[in-house]
Symmetry: C2
Amino acid sequence: MSKSARAPAEADANGSLMSLVMDVADQLGARLEAELAKNGLSWAKAAALECLAAASDPLTLGELAHENECVRSNITQLVDRLEGDGLVRRVNDPDDRRVRRAALTTSGRKACKEASRVLAAQEQALSRVLTAEEAQTLTRLLRKLLATP
Amino acid sequence: MSKSARAPAEADANGSLMSLVMDVADQLGARLEAELAKNGLSWAKAAALECLAAASDPLTLGELAHENECVRSNITQLVDRLEGDGLVRRVNDPDDRRVRRAALTTSGRKACKEASRVLAAQEQALSRVLTAEEAQTLTRLLRKLLATP
DNA sequence: GAAGATTGATCGATCAATCTTC
DNA sequence: GAAGATTGATCGATCAATCTTC
């Protein structure tokens, strides 16, 4: 279900900060996926649904790819699966026959609310582990890493 | 090549610590994969090669799966690809005809050295971004997260 | 010709089912 | 029957090639 930890178990014991970051991300991801799976969802699906719910109008598949920072063909396949689940419907664009838009169905809107609830719960669980100060420090250090060229 | 960031770009702006951890991991992973790709390697392949190089004798595919914390069938396919690359050779176990072992070839040993070099360089690049104290703090906080049940 | 979407091949991961050997 | 490995189906991601429409 989740991507497995990419490094052997003993990697944490020595000083590999890189492995540690990845291991934590893997663990958080695995938990999130496990929770979402109870609703028949995945993170990939949930992220797409939330994009669609946040937009006022059905989004172009290209727009979805851009928001998700992924390649167009990935969205094509993801929307195939979401359509198979009955959570999304492809609709044609009246102005440009090249573009296809993804519209949430009623089930899709409901699934999205579930996903948001799960996401918020995971985030909250995380926030209970660290003090406010620790969370702030962690955020600062991670942003510093993220900002490096 | 790399797994894409799983959350929309604006996720960092709000306070999602979870997304931030994942984004940092994705970025580090992407860089590592890009470097390894120059040698025709991937992280998955490199990790397997390093396990094999660390062992004195050729490892069982099951042992490789255990070390890598992944499912056996994953290793079957990974070793297929490594064999295709000429980096690994499957050998039979003389004592138990059910088991197959993976043996490094000469190219495999060479590729592993390259991979170790790349890995060390990435780790070093990371260590230059943070002060020793920051790195220590980050490690402590991430370990705290990892330790939560 | 370029833009938008899709298709087909590949990688890396999972799970369930199967095959061989113990 | 159980253990070790493999196969086949699926998910999620990439890239290159193609199709349709602009």
